[in-house]
Amino acid sequence: MCLAVPALVKSIDGDEAEVELGGVTRRASLMLTPEAKVGDYVLLHAGYAINIVDQSEAEETLSMLREMARLGEDNE
């Protein structure tokens, strides 16, 4: 039930946004994330953006994962 998926904010009209996920466009409420901007990814849950996805953190996590994986593989 706490499923939330990343969706790309395409346009904003007041506290509503048009977001795209998996090639499909739908309306979403930005009442919980009023600071969201066009071009941001938001975590979409039950029609509301519940948080903004931090893309630089995502990149950092991925490079950390690559390093962790490299260390793990070295020892296989």
Partner: protein, 364 residues
Amino acid sequence: MRLADDFRSSQLARGLVGGIRRNSTRKARLMEFCGGHTVAIMKHGIRQLLPPTIEMLSGPGCPVCVTGNADLDKAIALARIPGVILTTFGDMLKVPGSRSSLQEARAEGADVRMVYSTLDALQIARQNPSRQVVFLGVGFETTAPTVAASVLQADKEGVGNYFVLSLHKLCPPVIKAILDSGEIRIGGLICPGHVSAVVGSQSWDFIARDYGIPCVVSGFEPLDILQSVHMLVSQVEKGESRVEIAYRRGVSAEGNKRALEIMYQVFEPGAAAWRGVGAVAASGLKLRKAYQRFDAESAFRFDPGPTVEPKGCICGEVLRAVKTPRDCKLFRTVCTPANPVGPCMVSSEGSCAAYYLYEATDER
């Protein structure tokens, strides 16, 4: 950027598994609190990838599953009131209450409508001014702010026929109740990702500090979970207990302050009854006085009738992680997704449903 695909790389997964196997020397039971994590772990066969030192337990983090029959009966009784339209997320439709489910009530004439969002429920209220529209508020801190937002919107627009049956639950108090019971011992906690997106990782600080249990907030892709296990194993091996965030792209220490403000503007903590765990103080959310007129429990007179628990169902014990679905005599025989006896088989995030669907790939 393909946020989901990047976190599904099988090559990186192999490396992470190698790291976990190399680092893990101490036995540790790790609990994933969240039903979404249970499904991801089962679906991706993560349990079989882990070394024998690591045991995974599934926790009570499924809002549908922890809703007790007494509360379900309230929703069903409300749905049966002439003039009421009961709106609900789809997961709740098939959950059996004491005498029927919402789906059965609908077959008998009750107006029960599935919605994707409270935005849809509010729209139904606007379109049906002569009817009373009740939203069945089931969910954790992830969902409760969206319900609170709909109440604020209804208040602003003066929508007088919109009501909420608030059965929302808060996660930190129930984890505390489970740990305090002493019934199970866990060596690490995979904290719920999207609850944490709202409440922040700081909400779990007390678990690391007061119980000495390592905590890692995880996302829902396979690499997220492997990374979290990797981080928990590191803490276990070093004898540390801290709260770390593996899911940094979605979760911060302080959470979403705006969402919390809206949630606590509309709701205040109150007691709640959890299936399997019982009453836990300040683990639910009730409408504050200023929004009392939206409270379905006080707006309608209804009799949910006596509560009856399903015979032989061990959902309660499964939710407390003292038993697994395999320990249940009804599992796969009498109780199946097509004919569920307990909620853990109904919900797509229930442990029983996850075991039923994915156990063939998870035989340890």
